[in-house]
Structure formats: C-alpha cells, structure tokens
Amino acid sequence: MKSLHLIFIEILQVIIVIAVAPAFAGWVDMLKCWTQGRTSAGVLQPYRNIAKLFVKDVVLAGNASWIFRFTPYLVFGSAVVVGSVVPIISMNLFLAPSADIIVGIAIFASARFFMALAGMDIGTAFGGMGASREMMVASLTEPAILMAIFTVSLAGRSTSLLHIARSFTSGALVLRPSIVFAAIAFLLVVIAETGRIPVDNPSTHLELTMIHEAMILEYSGRHLALIEWGSMIRFFLFVTLGIACFLPWGIAVKDNVGDIAISVFFMVIKLCVVGGVLVIIETGLAKMRLFRLTEFLWAAFLMATLGVIAFFILE
C-alpha cells in the first residue's frame, strides 16, 4: 500500500515535470518581453509551438542516419528520466536513489553527446560548427558544475539529491557562505548549460552566434517538437535542481496531501522568482563572443572553488 502511493507520487512528479516545463519557459519568455517592453504571447505560447510542430510533417535530409532520427527521443527520454529523480514537490521519490546528482548531469551529457552527433550527421557546416561549439562550452562548464556539486555534497555529506535537500531542510535556516558561492556558480552554469544569453541566444538563427540552434537546424516536425520540449524540460530541471540543492525549504517531507499542496505552492513561487532572476541577467547582459565565454565559465569555476574553500575555512 505504501509503495503504491510512492509510485503515485513518482508518476505525478514526472507528469508535472513534462507538463509544467513549457509553462516555465513561457513564463521566462513573458518576463523577458515585459522587461524589453514587448507584448508577450503569453505563458502558453510554447505549448502552441510544440503542438504545431507535432502536426507538421517531417522533412528529413537525404543522408540522415538512424542517429539523426533517434536523438530526439533520447533527448526527451533522458530529460524525463532525470525529471523522475529531482525532488520538486516531495522528498519521497523511490526512483531517486537510482541516480544521484552526478548521474543526472551525466545523463544530460549523454543527451548532449547525441545531439552533437545529430548535428554532424547531415554533414552541413552549421551542424558541425554547432556541435563543436556545444562540446567546447560543455567541456568548460563541466568542471564548474562538479565543483558546485562538490560544495553542496560536502555540506550535505551526500551526492544524492534527496539527502542533500533533506540535510538542508532538517537543519536551521542558516546562511552558509560556501552554499552561496556554489549557488552563484550554479546559476552561471545553468545559463551556459541551457544556452541562454550571454552564452547563447536561443531566439536567434544568426550563423555566427548560434550554438544550440545550429545543431538542430535540420530538424523539423515531431523531431523538432521533441527536441524543443526536451530542452524545455532540461531547462526546467536545471532550475528545480538548483532549487532542490540551494533552497529546498518547503519541499514536502511527509507526503500527505497538505504538505504536497504547500510544497507545490512554494515551488511555484520559487520558480517565478528564479525565472525573474534569469531574465534580469539575460536582459542585463549582451551576448558574448565565443572566446569570451572562457572567462565567463572561468568565473563560474572560480565561484565554485571559492565555495569549496569557504567550506573548509569558514565552516
């Protein structure tokens, strides 16, 4: 009986992740439009896009191999799998032990790996360029992420998300410098990982600047829909992951309806706030030249390292 409602919660969470992710993306876009003084298409716009793409036919390049067609499913699937382990509304996810935070990141990495391959599959210059740049950015973000994780897992004495979140919520609400540094680092990393300004600009197709878009340039129809959706989920998950690591307060520990409701409420608020922060950063900054990115990510790495050092020196 107990396991049954665990399964229920698990399924609920997955559904939430899949369903809410576009909305969050829409919310961020909406904020962006407001801050830039444009009229927005509303929170639901991403849903419309996805729906539109699903009904469209697929136009496939002649020399596309199975990798090209398989990648969208993998991107979507891996995102969903990670979605099943991040504590968003409840701390009792029975699938959570199957992947700790490092594994989560690695699953995203394998999705990226295939996306890069897909980019090279058609054999156009753009695809290759996108793949190359994407892998370059990834290889620079990787150390920063790991340092951030290192910090939180030092503080939480674990790499499993549940235990990190638990250990923070159980303790009193104290401001730990290491965690702050780590949080900043993680924020920068999220920007880089999800391809947002100043690292990448998702809303442009200008050859010289695009990274992520260049890889998926040849996609269309349901494939494109899956990829878009997948990356929205990925974006959402990165944010929730950050929330679970750095401000987990409010996530339901006991899973009765009341607590879950509360945690949903808190989660919505947190998401809105974080989205706001992201938007402020995005609109505040301009897109960087590709080789300026090293400095950006170096800063992220530095922050994370400071977090580790702070942990040992100050705590």
């Binding site: 990798i67 993998l74 594994v103």
Partner: protein, 676 residues
C-alpha cells in the same frame, strides 16, 4: 578439481600450439590463421576462467617451477590481484583473437603473417606470465619477453622507416623502464639475503627503511610509468600504436599498459605496504597531468589510431588517479576509503581494456575498409558499415564516461573517492584534491568532445576522401569480436554492483577493507559504494527508464504518424554544397586549439593565392597545421644530444696512432703505481 593456478599455467603453455601450427601448416595461410587464432581464443578463455575462479575463490596459490636458476627457480603465485588482471587480459585477448581471424585474414598477401602469429601468441602468454610471476627474475623475464614480442609486432611492416622509428623508440624506452624496475628489485633484495631474497615473499617479509623504500618505489614507479605511457614518458605510445596491426594495438593499449598498473599496485600495496602520503600525491598529480594532457593531445589529432593512443594516456591517467587516491588514503590509515579508490582504479582498468580494445578493433575495421588512417579523408561510413559504426559508437559512449555504459561507472566511483577526501588530516590536501576532481570532470567532458569529433567525422556526414572506392562492412569474425566487446561494455556499465561484489576481495587482501556494495533485496541493481545515504547509482533503472520513455514516446507518435519526406540538404539556394564544406577533425577542434593552445607547440598558417592582388577573393587557399608534443623538445631532444656528444668524445680515444695507445698503457701503469 583442477586449481586456478594450474589452469592458468596450462593456458600459458597452450599458447605454444599456434606457434607449432606456424611450423606445421605454415603454407596454408587461410587454415593457419583460422586454427591458430581460434586456439589463442580458447587459451585466453581458459585463463579467463582461471582468473574468475582465483578471484571468486580467494586465497593464495603458489607454485615453484623446476626451471630458472638452480638457486632461484621461477616462483608463480596466483592471488586475487593477479587473478583479476589475468581475467582482464584473458577477456580482451579472447575477443581480439576472434576478431583477428578476420582481420589478419584480410591483410595483404605480402605481409609476414607467420611472424605476426608467433609473436602475437608469445605476447599474450608473456602478459599472463607477468601477472603470475612471484620472483624478481621471472617477473623481469616475462616483462622483457612481453616488451620484445610487442616490439616485433610493432615492427610488423618493417619496410616503412616511420614504423622502424616507432618500434625503436618503443623498445628503447621499454628496456630502460625494465632496467629501472630491475634496479628497484635490487634495492628491495638488498634487505633480504642470498638468492632466496629475490622472491616476492622474501621482499614482503622484509622491512625497508623509508629512504630505501622511497628509492625502490621511485625506480619501479618510473619504470612502470615508462611502459604505461604516463606523461612525460608517453612519447612512444602515439608512435607505436598507429603503426602496429590493429588487433595488436588493441591488445597493447587495452591490456599491455595495464600490466604496468599491475606492477605498480603489486609493489606499492603488496610488497612495500607502508609509505608516506606524498607518494600517493605524486601518483595522483602525474595521473591528473596525464589525463588532461592526454585528452588534449588526442583532441588535436586527425590520425585515428594516434588519437586513440593519446586517449590511452588519458585513461591510464584516470586509473592512476584512483590508485593515487587509494595510496593517500592508505597512508592516512583510512582503509575503507582506500578500498573505494582502489576499486575505482581497478574497475577503470577493466573498463578501459574493454572499450579501448573495442575502439581499436573498430579502427582496424575502418582501416581495412578504407585503407586510410586520416579522419579528414573519411565520412559517412555509417551507411556502408552499420554494424561497425554501432559497435564503435558503443566504444565512444563508454570512453566518454556517459551512462549507462561502463566508462561512466568507474569515473563515478572515482568522483565518490574524491568526495571522501575531506576526511584527510592534512588541510592542504583537503583544499587541493577537489581541484583534481574538477580536472577529472574536465577530462571527461573533453573526451566526450573528442569522440563526438571522431564518430561524427568518420561515420557521419558525407565521404570526404578523393577516391570514393567501395567501402564494405567488416567480416563476421571482426563483427563477432566487436559485438562481444561492446556487450561486455554494456554489462560492466549496468551491472557494476555484481562485478564489484566479485572483485572487492582484492581490496580486502591488500587493504584489509571491503566496500559496502549492496543494500536492499535488489542488491545487484544498486551500486552504493560508501553507504546508501551517501550516494547511489542504478544502471539498470536508468537504462530501463530511458528506453521505456523513448519507446513510449515513439509509440505515441506513431499511432498516427505524419509522413516523412526525404529531400536533399537545403543548400541555401546556391547549388555548390560539397563534402569539403563539412566540419572535419581539424576544424572541429579549432575552438579547443584556441583555448588550450598554449599547451602545445602549434604551427598554423594559411596561404591565400590572391586574385588580381585582391585578398578578398582568393583563387585558392591552403591551410597548414602542425601540432607538436612539447615534451619531446623539453625532455628527449637534450638527452639524445648529450649522448651523441659523449659518443663523439669517446671516439677520440681510438685515435689511430699506436704511440698514443702505448702512452695510454704507460700512463695507466704509472698512475696505478703512483696510487699504490
């Protein structure tokens, strides 16, 4: 019931049979190849069994052979550690032997296949003997035989001067390494007595003063490092691996380097046992350097096998990271953590053997199909060789440390070991070791980038080569070998709990500590190295999850599938889309060259032939790039120069004038008398 050590000895002896075949049926080439390699495969399989039993059964078995010096006969010993390595060596050589039937069969008629077969078998047998040896003399004999056999295998095509050069560099470095190891044995035997003192048992008993222990350790470590290709002793690898036949380079890179790891573990943990923490730190640092530099050098290559060779440097580095951490933990008396690190290292040893073997086999298949080692001449092979490309992809994913394949597991374990570093008593270490973890992460990401490049450039896109000759899929035996290896990669990836449950007796023997591997009833599903609270990974669930979601989405989307129209690539309107416009290996790695260029000796120039003195519209342009290893200039060139200089000086002695010679002996007498 035949005991494991007898089994393994038997398998070693069995490797003589193929050599006999060469003598008996040497003329019938086809038959010879089939029979000899199948025998090698069987023999390897036997030793795999021996290895499994030895580890599973636990306990130590020793045998003293009737051969060797009368006062120092050869001692054999099979314990968990050697059993594990025999298992690894045997497994890969089993796969590779299957693969070789097709690969060697496909070699040109002029190639000296007999030589290949003879030394191939000697080589494998020697690797087993290295793992079995239990006294300094036999160990070195096996070690050097291994080196010599592989040298002849590298010199397989001795017609080309580059091959000779590569083989030469390899042999010289191997021999110097061997002499260093010999000296370290000499140091350790210095604290024992008589001929018996050369057995490892006597050395285990001996207690070494720290000074001499350090000397012994450094000598042996650098000796083994020269074989393992630890930076800066790596220069022979990228030379030797490309020129060797691919099945041989699979073995060399897959398992021969591991014998060096075996030696390091054997001497450090089993013979010397107690050591200060800075030894481990040195190993760790060298490992990190090798890992990062190795992968960066690899990124710069466009010769497929050279690239893979540099990746061996990288992975040896990762293994050494694990071992170094384990040494540090041991010196701080933290056995459980040491056990975790050691297991991580050993697990990566096994993984690297598998996926690097797989990749080299794939490279061999590609080489066979295209007669081309330069990636920038390939492309789009996935359409011609679907199987090979699939297996190669498995190798790429594994080596890039991506779940659910095996490379990820060992890196994950290494990360967990890193995360335990805070319990070290020395603050400095606490602060510095996390940076090591960051470097490891960097290495993993760069490896992923590198293999996106490899797979993308070779198998995806369009054919870049000039002559588009028919590329055909590899033969059945090559595919069989590769498929088995990729299967092994997958199993090691999703069932780590089982494997580790099998092999952590090694850490129990060496460090007196086990891992808490399993928790709950479905133990085989959950890998929880420290404790479930701390960290956990379930390969099966992740795999099932991804597969399930992909399947569900696929089905949902195909209840009413929209039509798929295949069209040529959109060329933005102007009809000049050529294969040369694709990104190739060089252009792919350009951003990395920009970022990490300072680590290399890069010479890059673009020549433009202007049109009517107008640089904006060049008629044709030529791009030249040369990336060199800095270490050659830093380390090797000076040594060579000094040696040559000295030899010129010694030439002066043979002056040619008999009077001078007489003066020599005259002076010698005078000096000796004066010294009297």
């Amino acid at each position: 019931m035949i005991s494991p050590i007898e089994l393994s000895t038997f398998s070693v002896v069995a490797f003589i049979i193929p050599i006999l075949f060469v003598i008996v049926i040497g003329d019938n080439r086809r038959l010879l190849i089939r029979m000899s390699f199948s025998v090698s495969a069987l023999a390897s399989l036997v030793s795999v069994a021996a290895g499994i039993l030895a580890v599973a059964g636990g306990g130590i078995e020793q045998v003293v052979l009737p051969i060797g010096l009368p006062t120092l006969p050869f001692h054999l010993r099979l314990d968990e550690l050697s059993g594990f390595f025999i298992f690894v060596v045997g497994l890969l050589s089993f796969f590779v032997s299957i693969y070789s039937v097709g690969y060697v069969g496909g070699l040109g008629a002029g190639k000296p296949v007999k030589r290949l077969i003879v030394f191939y078998n000697i080589f494998i047998a020697a690797m087993f003997m290295v793992c079995l040896a239990d006294d300094a003399l036999f160990f070195l004999v096996a070690w050097e035989v291994m080196a010599a056999a592989s040298y002849f295998l590298v010199m397989f095509e001795d017609g080309r001067s580059e091959n000779r050069r590569a083989a030469y560099i390899y042999m010289v470095m191997a021999h110097i390494g061997a002499v260093l190891i010999l000296l370290s044995f000499g140091v350790m035997a210095g604290f024992t007595t008589g001929f018996e003192g050369y057995t490892f048992d006597a050395m285990r008993e001996a207690r070494f003063p720290l000074k001499w222990a350090t000397v012994a350790f450094l000598l042996s470590f650098f000796g083994f490092a020269a074989k393992a290709g630890v930076i800066p002793f790596h220069v022979w690898l990228p030379e030797a691996h490309p020129v060797a036949p691919s099945n041989v380079s699979a073995l060399m890179s897959g398992v021969m380097l591991k014998t060096a790891i075996y030696g390091i573990i054997r001497i450090t943990f089993d013979i010397i046992k107690v050591f200060p923490w800075w030894w481990g730190t040195m190993v760790l640092v060298l490992g990190l350097i090798s890992a990062v530099m190795g992968v960066l050098y690899a990124l710069m290559q466009h010769d497929l096998k050279k690239l893979l060779a540099y990746h061996s440097v990288e992975n040896i580095g990762i293994i050494l990271i694990g071992i170094g951490l384990s040494m540090i933990f041991t010196s701080f008396h933290l056995p459980t953590m040491a056990a975790l690190a050691l297991i991580a290292g050993l697990y990566h040893t096994m993984n690297h053997a598998m996926f690097k073997g797989l990749l080299f086999m794939g490279a061999g298949a590609v080489l066979h199909a295209t007669h081309e080692r330069n990636m920038d001449e390939m492309g789009g092979l996935i359409h011609h060789m679907p199987w090979t490309s699939a297996f190669f992809l498995v190798g790429c994913i594994s080596i890039s440390a991506l779940p659910p394949f095996n490379g990820f597991v060992s890196e994950w374990l290494t990360f967990q070991a890193f995360l335990l570093s805070p319990s070290m008593p020395i603050p400095l270490m606490k602060l510095l070791i996390p940076l090591g973890a960051a470097l490891l992460a960097l290495t993993g990401a760069l490896a992923a980038a590198c293999f996106v490049k490899v797979f993308g450039v070779i198998f995806l896109g369009n054919w870049r080569g000039h002559d588009n000759h028919a590329v055909t899929e590899a033969g059945w035996s090559m595919r069989a070998g590769m498929s088995l290896t990729s299967l092994a990669c997958l199993c090691l990836g999703i069932l780590p709990a089982v494997v580790i449950g099998w092999m952590d007796v090694i850490s129990e023997r060496l460090l007196k500590a086990k891992l808490v591997t399993t928790s709950g009833v479905y133990g085989w599903m959950w890998l929880t190295p420290v404790d479930p609270e701390r960290a956990s990974y379930s390969g099966p669930l992740v795999l099932i999850g991804i597969v399930a979601v992909c399947a569900v989405t696929y089905l949902l989307l195909h209840v009413k599938p929209g039509s798929i129209s295949k069209v040529p690539v959109w060329d933005c309107g102007f009809k000049k889309l050529t294969a040369k416009m694709q990104y190739n290996a060089v252009s792919f790695s350009m951003p990395f060259r920009r970022i990490f260029g300072f680590l290399f000796d890069i010479k890059e120039q673009i020549r433009l032939a202007p049109q009517r003195g107008h640089l904006a519209f060049p008629v044709n342009s030529h791009y030249y790039l040369r990336v060199r290893d800095r270490f050659w200039g830093w380390l090797y060139r000076p040594v060579i120069d000094i040696v040559v200089l000295l030899s010129r000086k010694t030439g002066m002695l043979q002056h040619g004038r008999i009077h001078v010679y007489l003066i020599y002996s005259f002076v010698t007498i005078i000096v000796l008398l004066a010294l009297l």
